[in-house]
């Protein structure tokens, strides 16, 4: 088995709209870490050209604010899909994966790291206190997950559930 595992972390959202900045905050937490074979990217939203970058990695983690998910975060596999947008220039993670598959013939393992946010509707460059706590938990979790690359790349559903569940539980206990 090839031990090299190229991972991409994409944090997206608008830092000027309060908790919508959770995704970029994840990217910022890892940008300076200079982890081997880990590419970190940040943007306001996902767009079609992300498919080209995604296609060059074995594992992709989409980090975004989540307005309805569990606290402090959720970590779920994402499969290629055909999410339809009304009139936006953005695409969803499953759409990016579908394009990477159809256009470049690559299907990386992918996960959505959805960090629970609460406040979105004002122009303010600050995360809410609760979102900051959730962010810290998510970054801790992701730091640990990036040390288990073979699980991220090849793990069975049971192993992945254990990875996500154990970390969430541990964070919840803190």
């Amino acid at each position: 088995m090839n031990e090299r595992c190229r991972i991409m972390v994409i944090g997206y959202g608008n830092p000027g709209r309060q908790d919508d900045g959770l995704g970029p905050a994840v990217a910022a937490a890892f940008e300076q870490a200079d982890l081997p074979d880990v590419t970190v990217d940040s943007d306001y939203q996902l767009t079609v050209e992300d498919a080209a970058a995604v296609a060059q990695h074995d594992v992709v983690i989409f980090a975004d604010a989540d307005c309805t998910g569990p606290e402090p975060f959720r970590f779920d596999p994402v499969l290629p899909g055909d999410a339809v947008t009304f009139s936006s220039h953005s695409v969803q993670p499953d759409g990016v994966l579908a394009l990477a598959d159809q256009l470049f013939g690559v299907r990386p393992r992918a996960y959505a790291l959805g960090i629970r946010g609460y406040e979105f509707n004002e122009y303010r460059e600050a995360l809410s206190a609760a979102a900051q706590r959730n962010l810290a938990a998510a970054v801790d979790f992701l730091r640990g997950a990036l040390n288990q690359r073979t699980v991220l790349r090849d793990g069975s559903p049971h192993e992945l559930a254990a990875l996500a569940g154990a970390s969430t539980t541990a964070n919840g206990d803190e």
Partner: protein, 488 residues
């Protein structure tokens, strides 16, 4: 949702989302269930002007990029142009102006390419009535993979231009009051030149698709969401299309001049913003004509309509072909936006190529300053249309007033007209069919409005349609691109 008032039935097509910045269509029916009016509601971003107030003026070109995830470069440059005036540095050095222009054309290139390949081409390649399951970019990727790859790579190229001129892919800092903070290195220039000919070639192909579609389907598209309107934008002093700087020009639907070469710093003498009770978004109109008939269109279609020529050879040839369809008069066909958008795409890449061969980009004279001023207006032609930034700055360098008129606001009334036209032509009975929804979407998409650009998060639902009877009961409810709660 549907409600009754004054004998009118209201059918609403609305997205459910916890953030601002999404659209909703409301179709007003009379007692005979005929369309009286349709309204496109865009919940405009409120509070941004307040967010800027009190901030130091030199931060503004960076801050305003928080407004929009689709066109942050346009806001960056419009604000920088205003702040040039604040510091008395509006006469930029050649290096500064050309770096900004390169950034701007990069933005145009990636934005127009993305809109065409991602949003528009599914409508053109599969038809308005095609199953929504395939009438999207994923469907294009499956059936026309080469085209879809081109779209992705063109968008990526435009982003590379922005990265090398703005300093960052997002939240760029390239343009500063009175200039620019970097030049283009030889390595950066060579990197961008490597793929330039491929980009020109693909742009020609995209233009051909848009042109051929429009010409071959002229009978179908000429009335689709179409109406006569005034056309507004700015042009260079010699009448050429100029997307970065120029004087204001407005013409009627038949091409008569309303005003020409107006200094945009005097825009308040020419443009008024009207407020309507049902919309957060204002309705700008030309002051001398008045609100009833003074509304206008902005963006690719008006820009091609109002300019005297385009100063790049292939785009100019394309413009002549386009104008020949209407014998040199303004073209008022809504779907012609797509053709003109591709003319601008080709123009943008021709300009990028021209600039990359200009040694001024490697210059080191980057910033100028002069007499300090307290008020300034910066305008730019953004991909979606004319963008206004107006600021006042006090003696402590803090912003005390900000007024922005974004491109989508300028196109507010035209988009409402387009939706009304489509609703009248395609609503049958009181049922919101998939066909009606498709046609409404196609009409709105022609304008490439900014509907959902300020925030983005998991959990949002793109579009929901509800149909309610005379008694206020919901008799039909549809969701697009998502599942309704009761379906989950």
């Amino acid at each position: 949702m549907v409600s009754m008032k004054n004998g009118l039935k209201r059918i609403a097509i609305e997205p459910v989302t916890r953030v601002e910045g999404h659209g909703k269509v409301t179709i007003l029916l009379d007692e005979k269930n005929e369309v009286q009016q349709a309204r496109l509601h865009i919940v405009e971003f409120r509070g941004f002007e307040r967010f800027i107030q009190g901030r130091p003026f030199w931060e503004v070109p960076v801050l305003v990029q928080r407004l929009c995830g689709i066109c942050p470069v346009s806001h960056h440059l419009a604000a920088a142009k205003a702040m040039d005036i604040i510091v008395g540095g509006e006469n930029l050095t050649p290096t500064a102006e050309k770096m900004r222009r390169l950034m701007h054309y990069g933005q145009f290139f990636q934005s127009h390419a993305l809109h065409f390949f991602h949003l528009c081409s599914p409508d053109l390649l599969f038809g308005f009535d095609a199953d929504v399951a395939i009438r999207n970019v994923i469907g294009v990727a499956a059936k026309f993979p080469d085209l879809a790859v081109q779209g992705v790579m063109m968008r990526k190229y435009g982003q590379e231009v922005i990265l090398r001129t703005a300093g960052k892919k997002i939240h760029g800092t390239g343009a500063i009051p009175g200039g620019i903070n970097k030049n283009l290195s030889n390595e950066e220039r060579d990197f961008l030149l490597k793929d330039i000919d491929q980009m020109v070639k693909w742009s020609r192909g995209a233009l051909k698709i848009a042109k051929d579609y429009t010409v071959e389907n002229l009978d179908k598209v000429k009335d689709f969401g179409s109406f006569e309107s005034n056309h507004f934008g700015f042009v260079r002093s010699d009448g050429a299309m100029d997307l970065y700087h120029g004087g204001l020009r407005a013409v009627t639907a038949t091409g008569e001049t309303i005003f020409d070469h107006v200094d945009y710093r005097e825009y308040l003498d020419y443009i008024v913003e009207e407020v309507k009770p049902w919309s957060y978004m204002k309705f700008p109109f030309i002051k001398s004509i008045g609100p009833e008939n003074g509304w206008y269109r902005v963006g690719p279609l008006p820009r091609v309509n109002i300019c005297d020529f385009i100063d790049t050879p292939e785009a100019e040839e394309a413009r002549k072909e386009f104008m020949a369809v209407t014998d040199g008069k303004p073209n008022n066909i809504t779907m012609a936006y797509h053709w003109t958008r591709m003319i601008e795409l080709l123009h943008a890449i021709e300009k990028i190529k021209e600039l990359l061969h200009d040694p001024d980009l490697q210059g080191n004279d980057l910033v100028v300053t002069g007499e300090r001023r307290g008020e300034a207006v910066g305008l730019i032609e953004a991909p979606r249309g004319t963008l206004f930034h107006h600021y006042k700055v006090d003696e402590n360098d803090q912003v005390t007033m900000a007024n922005l008129i974004v491109s989508t606001t300028n196109n507010n009334e035209p988009m409402n007209r387009a939706v009304s036209k489509v609703a009248r032509d395609h609503l049958s009975g009181v049922e919101i069919t998939e066909g009606l929804l498709n046609h409404v979407e196609v009409a709105i998409r022609a304008y490439d409005p900014c509907l959902s650009c300020a925030t983005h998060a998991m959990g949002q639902m793109p579009l929901i349609i509800e149909l309610v009877d005379h008694s206020g009961n919901v008799i039909n409810r549809k969701a697009k691109g998502c599942k309704l709660p009761e379906e989950q």
